[in-house]
Every structure is written in C-alpha cells, then in structure tokens.
Subunit: 423 residues, 2 copies
Amino acid sequence: MATADATDLALHCRQIADAARQASRRLATLDAEQKNKWLLESASALLDATDEILHANAQDIAAAPTFGLSEAQIDRLRLDAQRIAGIASGLTEVAALPDPCGEIIEGQTRPGGLKIQKVRVPLGVVFFIYESRPNVTADAAAICVKSGNAVILRGGKEAAHSSQAIVDVLHRTATRLGLPDGAVQLVDTPDRAAVGHFLKMNDAIDVTIPRGGESLIRRVVSEATMPVIKHFDGNCHVYVDVAADLEMATRITENAKCQRMGVCNACESLLVHRDIAAEFLPMVAAVLTSRGIEMRGDDESRKIVDMQPATDADLRAEFLGPVISVAIVDHVQHAAQHINDYGSHHTDAIVTNDYRTAQTFTAMVDSAAVMVNASTRFNDGGQFGLGAEIGISTDKFHARGPCGLRELTTYKYIVHGDGHIRD
Amino acid sequence: MATADATDLALHCRQIADAARQASRRLATLDAEQKNKWLLESASALLDATDEILHANAQDIAAAPTFGLSEAQIDRLRLDAQRIAGIASGLTEVAALPDPCGEIIEGQTRPGGLKIQKVRVPLGVVFFIYESRPNVTADAAAICVKSGNAVILRGGKEAAHSSQAIVDVLHRTATRLGLPDGAVQLVDTPDRAAVGHFLKMNDAIDVTIPRGGESLIRRVVSEATMPVIKHFDGNCHVYVDVAADLEMATRITENAKCQRMGVCNACESLLVHRDIAAEFLPMVAAVLTSRGIEMRGDDESRKIVDMQPATDADLRAEFLGPVISVAIVDHVQHAAQHINDYGSHHTDAIVTNDYRTAQTFTAMVDSAAVMVNASTRFNDGGQFGLGAEIGISTDKFHARGPCGLRELTTYKYIVHGDGHIRD
C-alpha cells in the first residue's frame, strides 16, 4: 500500500490488527513442534532466498542517502550472504529454546476436590516498533511466534525493502505449513499515522514494544491504550564502596563505561565512598582519561581530580557517549538513595568486599538489575541466559529487566471439577 | 483536611504520594516477622479500639441517609463488636500467609561464574480505590503491607469516619513498632479531584487498583498514567456440550446464575449444543424459572422454550441480577469463539464428559479462568487458595484472575560476581 487517505489507512490498520487477533487464537493452540518446524524451515527458506533478499536490500542501500543515514548506519543496514546466514541461524537458535507455553506454573487440588492449574499461555498480539536493522525483523518474528503470539512489525522505513523480503519468506513458509496468515505481518506503509491507529486498538493488541530513541518511546507511551514494555533510558551507576578492591573497581568502572558506550546498560554515573575517594578517584581518572572519557564531578570530587563540574542534569543524564558524572557519597545507604532518586531503575552496581554492605545495596536499590562486583554491561538477555531478547524493561509491572520468550506470555487458570457447585 | 482550594489539594495529594514512596523503600527491606508483628498487634489494637471504631461508625450510619444509601447498603456499612472482631481476624489470617517477598524465583550460575538470582520484591506503592464497606479498609492495608507495599487508600465517603478510625489504629501500631509513617494512608478529603491528582503520579505510584462500578473503573483506566489492575465486568458463560451430564449441567447453571447474582463471576450467558438443546433447555428453564430468573434467548432456543428474544446487547451484558441470555451453538469451537467474541475474558465453564472436547475448550477460551464441570462462582482468591484477595484481573498483563499477595509483587535481578567484566 503505497499511498492512502486517512480513512483507508485506518481501515488498513484495522484489517492488519484483526488478522493478527484471529491468528493469535490459532497460534495459542499450536504445540512447540509446529512452531519449531516453522522456525527451522524459515531459516532454510531465508538461505534459499538470499538473492531475493540481497536484491531488496540493494534498494534500501540505494535509498539510504536520501534518508540522511551515516556511513555507520548504512553499514548496519547492509546485508550480505554471511549476514543472511546469521539471520537464519538466529531462527534456528530460537527453535532450540524451550517453549514457554503450556508450562503448568503451579497447581493444587483444593479441599472438595477441585483441581486448579495455573498454565502459561501467550499474551496474544504484539505490536513491535523498531529501528532499521533488518535482522531485527526476523528475530522479533521468531521470538513472538515461538512464544505463541502474533506480531505486527513496524520497522524503520530505511530497511523497508529488506524487511519486506524477509517477512515474505517467513509468510510463505507459514502458509506452506498451515500457520495462520496473520501470524507475522509487516506494516507496509511509511505513514507515521499508522502507529497512532494501532496504539488505539487495545481490543486487538495486547502489548506494544517500542525500541528506539527516548522521544519515540515517550510518544508511544503517551498514546498507547494497551500495556507497553519499554525502557526510556539507562542512567546506570557504579558505586565504589569503602571496602572495595580498588583495582577491581577501576576495571569494572572502565568496562561499564567504555566497553560499549551507546547502549542502555553502560555506566553513566560513578559514586565513590568519601573515605576512599582521595585514593580511588585519581586511579580511575587515569584510566578513564586514557580512554577519552570526560569526567564531570560534584564539588567534593573536583577537589581531588580536576574536572568539569557536574550539574544536576549531568547526574541524571544518559550520555550514551564518552562522558561520566562523578559524585561522592557518605555510605552505602546514601549511594542507594542517590541511585533511586537520580537513576533510571535499569542497572546499578556496587564494588565492595563487605558482606553486609553488599546485602544492603541489593536490598535498597530499586532497579531491574543490581550487580555486586560485576559490570553493569551484563544486564542483557543473552548474558542472563534468556536465549533471545526482544527488549529490556525498567518497569515493575509484568516484566522487569531483559524480556525473552517467557515475558511475552501470561497465564490462565484451568479448573477441573466433577459437577462442583459453590455453597 | 475538610476543604481546600485546587492548589492545596494537589499539594496535599503530592505529600501523601511522596510519603508513600518513601515508606515503600523502607517496607521493601522489612522481613516477614516485622510485618506479621504489625498485623497481629493491629488486630489486637482494633479489638481494644472497638468503642472508638463504633463511635466513628455511628457517625457514618447517621449520615448514611444523606448519601441516599439503601437499607441493604446501610447494613453493610454498620459495624458491631462481632464485625470488628471479624476485621481483626482478617489481619490475623493475612499474618499467617507466607511472605511473597524475598522468594528466589529462580537462579543460575552462568558460564564464567556470574551468579544470577531473580528475587521477588514489592511493587512499591499501591493506590486502592474502593467501595464503602469499612472492612475493606483493613483488608487492603493488610494485603498491601504484608506484600511489602505502601498503600494509599481511597474509600467511599459513606464510610469515611469508620475507615479513618480503623486507619488510625493501624497507624498508631505502625508508629509504635517503627514502621514508616507513610505505609498506610487514607485520603482524608472527599474531593473527587483528589483521585485525578493521584492518577497522574506515576513517579510515586506503581499500580492503581479500582473496585466499584464499571463507570468508575473506566474513568480510572482512562486517566491513570500507571498500570491498573482491574476488571470492567464479568459476562461469564456456561456452555453445555452434547456430551454433558444434563443433571450436572442444570445444577452448575443454577449455581453459577443464582448462588449470588450481584458478583462478577456469576453466569450471565448460557450456551447450549444444538443436539441436546431440545432436551436440556426445558430442564434448565424449569429450574431457572422457579428461581425467578428471566431467560432471553436467540431465535433457535426460543423455538424450544418460550422466552423473550435476546438482543446482541443481551448476549454481551453483565446483568448482575435475575436475567440470563441463552444461545444455541453448533460445537465446542463455536462456543469458544462466541465466548471470546462476546465475553469479558473473566470466567467461562463447559459441562462435558468428553475428554477431547474439554481439552479443546480450555485451550481455545481466552479467559482468566476456564472451568470444566464446575461453577463459574469458583473464580475467587479464597476458593483458589490465595488466602486473601485485593481484586480480580481480566487483563493478561502482570496478573490475571484473582490477585493476592504475590500479584502485588515484581522481581529484580540480583547478580553476584567477583570482578566480572564483559568482553
């Protein structure tokens, strides 16, 4: 659908959502074997369709300069046979994961004999909004269908041809294997109003998962009428305690800040216990400066190391680049309070060798992941062993931290009686 | 606070919410013993304060006619020594339940030695909006604090004095035991605008739970900026299959419809397999009619039993009274489709002796609870063994079905390393 007036667009989105809802009812009744067969045959079909996908990708690459993409962005957009093989093996990996659906989470026989089971079932329909890398198209489709959900994919326009070619392959495989038509659908209009239409359809869509910049995510949250799995940002902290191994603290701070800067679990703020600040700050400053990191400190830390002053905004910022804020704290409780007040509830770490201090920190810090003597960079579905990840949540409701297959499910109670009535 | 201008009210609500947030940080670190001590001593303090509570209750009873309460409503509002003892024993029962917080839901040691735990923790702050019965004030406070949450209680104005007297007792006990001040707060203004202020504070409130009429709940859902645990209504079905024991089907239908009519898990719609309709409908009609139930049927069922026609709205309705809609279906798939399209995703039952039909029904019906050969009336926290219930959810996100202590929790990842950094 290349162009459309407003009514046509609304109708088109409605048709997509209704098809997804219908498909979700069927998908919920498939067993793991049927879903895995689709994943494995789709993997092989993607390899067979390498030429077709590369042809589509060439159209995206040709159009990339008109979208103002940088060289690095164009590189992430570019596919070759090896990358397509990588996409295919991603599907194979999801096939190897256990099916979360049908798990009997718990159950009991009640006095009187009523048998109550709490059984894991799919959420239903996922609306997934994502950045332009075409591999995400296949990953998200795999995770959603494996967890028994239908998915409506809204990818970046920069990868429109590549994503459509990939979805065409997934769709043909689904049709051949008798999976429902609406299981995987790509929104095939660049019209931004389409997103607004879908966000109103809480009768047909069970969850929206936006990935991208904070402004996109804020727009989605403010318009969505259904639950949203998301994180706005990640102002992650490393707190170096008085009882820290300072060499370890330096290594962890360097890794958390520098190993990959543009990601949500990178460290943006360093908190240092007052009593070791004079020793530790010069150590860590030497390493961070050698890595090209700009430090911005509070008044006290600037008495120890020469750096720019940190504003209140700096202490709240997700820099996503070579800047770190620094503050001195009095004790672990002070550190935890600062993290709860200034942080993003994403990932926060302590470095300490004191047993009770570690326990206080993990109890008090109200974040999705709390690390002791480990880099913040470990908060990741792969590192946590989820196998596949569709996003990270900083919310507390439903799913917190990395979201994999199980986070795309809910449960229902199935109750078996023998003519039971209530007194 | 008797009266307030708009700015004062907003400020007052903000202070309540901030106090709750602060309290929630402390409550999250309490162990079960501390919380149980508060519950048990509050129970005993409520008994000691019987005169004080009855005095407050007398003020509510005196004011009741000015709110236009019916005799039945006034009776539910009225306390006596025995009812206060019941409220106190409710607190004792919650103390006896296991503490959900601190449960290590799962955990693993990753290759490389990082130890990952998924630990159950409180949601934080609950905003609870409820009907006028004063016992709910104590129940809700007990469930929230036992699950480690601070609670902001917004009760009906009809029970304002009684609720305040109960909260005063809970509060005094909390102060004496060193629990944080903001753990249990009652919104002490009748101004309806207060609810709107709280619903905007998603920085301080983690979940809103409204109980009451559908219009109140729809208002809350449309204004809330935080997650809401709720059900709008319960259009619950009983489907009588061709393979049903028709005596059992009659008993279950009668129980589901008549045992208590004004509740969300009562049956509102009866679906009957075409092939047993001629035999079953007269049987069930005789019983329902003798119980004073009006039946409204589709065209086919009206050829068998004389009744008023059921409109499409009747088939979607939650009557909460002596009316039931009736429709003929062709098979179990048809019944499941009808339930998914017309129902409330609350509680739906099948009566059948056919093994595969029962399995098809439980797999296809997309409701919080699906019953086989049991009355819909069993979907209830007490009946399901949750011990205490703060509401029933028909949503799929976070919590579905009866919500007890555990449904007021989330989890966080606690990760222990030994200087681990990421490659």
